[in-house]
């Protein structure tokens, strides 16, 4: 039996629609896989990626032992718009930035008046930050800790 042009054309047309759906099935599959991974990640995420724990403070400042959760890029300062707000007149409105880049924590002074101290010494440029390091801003000292 000879396969006519019209039959072949219809074959290609139907193949097109079937292939569209085969693609979509795989796309849905990929979506489903990441969603089930998402559930596991979500619980870890609620705890934040890390936190600054207050180790030294004063009367008007944050309470000692308080955990201030960090984002990937967190601004630290006196202004209420910061991610980590420190109520201390020795702190600048935007004092420092703590960031997480390629698996490493970094501390950077954002042009503050009184400077930022890392383990007791004033930082000049961008400094690497390790878990357990102590950061001092104004009269407040904070320690970088892993998420609980």
């Amino acid at each position: 039996m000879e396969i006519t042009f019209a039959a072949l054309l219809w074959g290609v047309r139907i193949a097109f629609v079937i292939l569209l759906y085969l693609f979509l099935i795989r796309a849905f599959g990929a979506l489903h896989r990441t969603l089930s991974e998402e559930r596991i990640v979500a619980t870890a995420r609620q705890l934040g990626i890390a936190a600054l724990v207050v180790v030294r403070s004063h009367a008007g400042g944050p309470r000692v032992g308080e955990r201030l959760p960090l984002r990937a890029v967190s601004s630290v300062g006196r202004d209420a718009g910061n991610d980590v707000v420190l109520n201390d007149e020795a702190a600048s409105a935007k004092h420092a930035v703590v960031s997480f880049v390629d698996g490493e924590w970094w501390l950077e002074d954002a042009g503050s008046t009184n400077g930022t101290l890392l383990n007791g010494s004033r930082i000049q440029d961008k400094e690497r930050l390790h878990y357990g390091d102590e950061v001092a801003v104004g009269r407040i000292a904070l320690r970088l800790e892993r998420a609980q």
């Binding site: 047309r13 097109f16 629609v17 979509l24 969603l35 990937a72 890029v73 390629d102």
Partner: protein, 431 residues
């Protein structure tokens, strides 16, 4: 920061193979139906398109990109469907669209290479807003501004190229709104003063609401573009809601839009015409006049049925300007309900994925950017598909990635690249 260490993107590659398969099948069907025979050289055009897709994939692999692997195959799949439809509906425009794809691919790569955490976008937010406004009013300027099909939304030099600046404004707007709303985060975290059940919006919110409304109305009156007005205001209300979680602001916005629309309906002919056509397209005065495009589109949809007329076998060319405004009706006529459902599923997965990227993003700014960009795709699809099927008045919004048009292709590729960048930042932070 992007490090130049190649990574395998196998999930993306596997999906792209399926994109390649249906692209070739669809294109061959369209060409064979038109010419009445199969010829091997017909696969040259889809292969050229697929070569560009492959190059984009290799580019992401070579820069060690860690972002989402599902978004690009979806976007490129839709683009490929777009090329099949250009070949079907306006073969003379194919070469032009192919050159636009090259430009779009370049813009995509450029966006991927934006340094670091995209904070550069937030830092220059007023620059973006200013550029956006400049682009928005540019069609009103003499010499470069041009009016096409009753809408003054184009700039270009006659005979060389023309561009719809509005398309790019959308992306600039989302970035500006995201940065603006992110900056006023502290106002956002305090609950608004309430006047009974009505929250009184703080000034930083009230001011842009009024400003945006004025600009949106300006676009409607002077550029005569209903679609842009709708999208412009829609983006703003959606992002305001995303940032505040306060449905009342959206309500105020909708009431203002409805009020403006009511006045415009009575004051301006081009607005009234759109509404009249939508209400009664088969009216004897309108059927073969202003409503001709819409009624022909409705006949196309009616001709579709479950399985459609078959690619290349329908009569979508009877719709005026079918390749830009009515691609959805044309596609549906030829592949039927089954095909239209698949097309909408592409958008569904794309938007769902975009919103997931937004949920996972590490900073408020990135969350707002990703959500706003996903919203653009969802809103445009909704407005044009509903317009084609006479659910709402027809507006000149393009079907993302699919409709013919250089400006929208470039913009959508930039949009997709930005979403991918957000997911890349998320992946690096979480590792």
């Amino acid at each position: 920061m992007i490090r130049a260490r190649p990574v395998a993107r196998l999930a993306e590659l596997r999906l792209l193979v399926w994109v390649a398969a249906f692209s070739v099948a669809g294109y061959v069907a369209v060409v064979a139906a038109a010419s009445g025979r199969f010829a091997w050289y017909e696969v040259a055009v889809p292969l050229a398109v697929l070569a560009i897709f492959g190059a984009l994939h290799l580019f992401l692999v070579s820069v060690g990109f860690q972002g989402d692997q599902l978004l690009m195959p979806l976007a490129l799949g839709l683009t490929s469907i777009g090329f099949i439809l250009v070949e079907r509906l306006a073969p003379t425009l194919l070469l032009q669209q192919l050159s636009w794809l090259v430009i779009a691919a370049g813009a995509f790569c450029g966006t991927i290479l934006i340094p670091r955490d995209l904070s550069v976008l937030a830092r220059f937010k007023y620059t973006w807003a200013f550029l956006g406004m400049l682009l928005l009013v540019s069609p009103l300027l003499p010499v470069i501004g041009r009016e096409i099909n009753g809408a003054r939304i184009w700039v270009g030099l006659p005979g060389i190229a023309q561009f719809e600046p509005w398309e790019l404004v959308k992306v600039a707007l989302v970035i500006f709104f995201a940065a603006y709303l992110d900056e006023y985060r502290e106002v956002l975290s305090t609950p608004p003063r309430r006047f009974g059940p009505i929250p009184v919006p703080p000034i930083p919110y009230l001011l842009p609401i009024v400003a945006m409304w004025l600009v949106a109305m300006l676009v409607m009156v002077f550029e005569k573009d209903l679609g842009a007005t709708l999208l412009f205001f829609g983006i703003f209300l959606a992002m305001l809601y995303l940032a505040t979680g306060e449905p009342f602001y959206v309500l105020i916005g909708l009431v203002m839009l409805a009020g403006g629309g009511f006045i415009a309906y009575h004051a301006f002919n081009h607005v009234a015409a759109r509404i009249d056509v939508w209400l009664a397209p088969f009216d004897s005065d309108l059927r073969f006049d202003q409503a001709y495009q819409l009624t022909q589109g409705l006949f196309s949809l009616a001709n579709a049925g479950i399985l459609g007329a078959g690619l290349g076998n329908g009569m979508p060319e009877r719709i005026p300007v079918v390749w830009s405004d009515f691609v959805f009706a044309a596609f549906t006529e030829e592949v039927g309900f089954v095909g239209a459902l698949a097309l909408l599923a592409f958008y569904l997965v794309f938007v769902y994925r975009g919103m997931l990227i937004a949920l996972r993003a590490p900073t408020t700014l990135l969350q707002l950017v990703a959500a706003g960009l996903s919203f653009i795709i969802a809103f445009q699809t909704l407005v044009i598909v509903a317009g084609n099927s006479k659910l709402i008045p027809l507006t000149g919004i393009t079907l993302p990635f699919v409709a013919y048009g250089g400006s929208s292709l470039v913009t959508n590729f930039v949009l997709c690249a930005l979403l991918l960048r957000v997911s890349d930042i998320t992946a690096r932070v979480r590792r």
